[in-house]
């Protein structure tokens, strides 16, 4: 029985992961392609990994634009930061620098 010697989904998921980084040899690519052809669960696995990558890329985009994408600085934290900066000893640099 052929499927006994062919890798199962467990091994295929490792190949799927490496395919995301384009790290497969032609032989591995063939094995992966053949498996995906007949296995809808692993096809979904691949598309869901891509989904996760896209989610993360979109989150990065939103972050750059300043849209809500991750927790923001609390008022307390902002205050702590300002105090920490205030007490730092970097005065001399500021005598020399007058840009913005």
């Amino acid at each position: 029985m052929v499927w006994r010697v062919l890798p199962g989904c467990r091994d295929i998921t490792a190949l799927v992961s490496r395919s995301m980084e384009n790290d497969l040899s032609w032989r591995e690519k063939l094995v992966l392609k053949t498996h995906l052809y007949t296995c809808i669960a692993c096809r979904r696995y691949l598309s869901q990994l891509k989904f996760m990558s896209e989610v993360i890329a979109k989150r990065e985009e939103k972050l750059e634009k300043g849209e809500t994408a991750a927790p923001r600085l609390s008022a307390d934290a902002a205050e702590r930061l300002k105090n920490a900066l205030k007490s730092s000893k970097t005065l001399i640099v500021f005598v020399l620098v007058s840009c913005f």
Binding site: M1, W3, R4, P7, G8, C9, R10, D11, T13, A14, S17, R18, M20, E21, D23, A41, C42, R44, Y45, S47, Q48, L49, F51, M52, S53, E54, V55, I56, A57, K58, R59, E60, K62, L63, G66, T68, A69, A70, P71, R72, L73, A77, A78, R80, L81, K82, A84, L85, K86, S88, T90, L91, I92, V93, F94, V95, L96, V97, C99, F100
Partner: protein, 204 residues
């Protein structure tokens, strides 16, 4: 002299406050999305702004102030990842894949194939929409946080910061084989965790 000090002191306060108000949220969100810890993220932002104050004359107005600050922050985060990764080899916790055994059948003709319960089902949603839900964003952070720290950091460097395998191996001081193990593990876990906590619960 005393007068000069008051002036500079004022300026320092002024500049720091401006940065915190203008870019604090952005820098903090950026740091938090990578280190997933409130205090650590705050520390990293503080270190960044302190370093920026000292290097202010190195700033060229070619790039925006925000980009410049974010560049410093990225270095601080990578430094943090580098410092928290001392071992070349995987720790027992990192190498342990037995917690994923239940995803696959252990015996029978279909040994090594998806178990009935863990078999990926359709995700009927799109990445843009799903991100609008604060709950989903929380789940993403939570699921990453469940992984051993280095594994999560490895995934972060790859997927959020776009470093390639060789660069990540350099930062974390790991072998390329261990890089593949970590990525595979992170993806198996995240997919399952997001599936379980979001898609199976909300039945979208």
């Amino acid at each position: 002299m005393e007068q000069l000090e008051t002036i500079t002191n004022k300026e320092t306060v002024f500049d720091a406050a401006v940065w915190v108000d203008a870019h604090g949220d952005f820098l903090y969100s950026f740091a938090f999305s990578r280190v997933r810890d409130q205090w650590l993220a705050e520390d990293l932002v503080q270190d960044t702004l302190l370093a920026a104050m000292q290097a202010k004359n190195a700033f060229e107005s070619k790039s925006s102030e925000r980009t410049w600050l974010c560049g410093i922050l990225k270095h601080k985060i990578i430094d943090h990842f580098r410092k928290s990764s001392r071992e070349v080899e995987l720790t027992d916790e990192e190498a342990d894949m037995t917690s994923y055994d239940y995803l696959f059948r252990e015996e029978g003709v279909w040994k090594g194939h998806w178990s009935a319960e863990a078999r990926p089902a359709e995700w009927n949603d799109n990445p843009e929409k799903v991100l609008e839900h604060a709950e989903f964003r929380g789940i993403l952070t939570h699921c990453l946080g469940e992984l051993p720290e280095r594994v999560a950091n490895c995934f972060t460097l790859r997927e959020m910061d776009g470093f390639d395998a060789a660069e990540i191996c350099g930062i974390l001081g790991i072998s390329s084989n261990n890089f593949w193990v970590m990525m595979h593990r992170a993806r198996l876990h995240l997919r399952r965790c997001i599936d379980f906590n979001w898609f199976r619960k909300t039945e979208k």
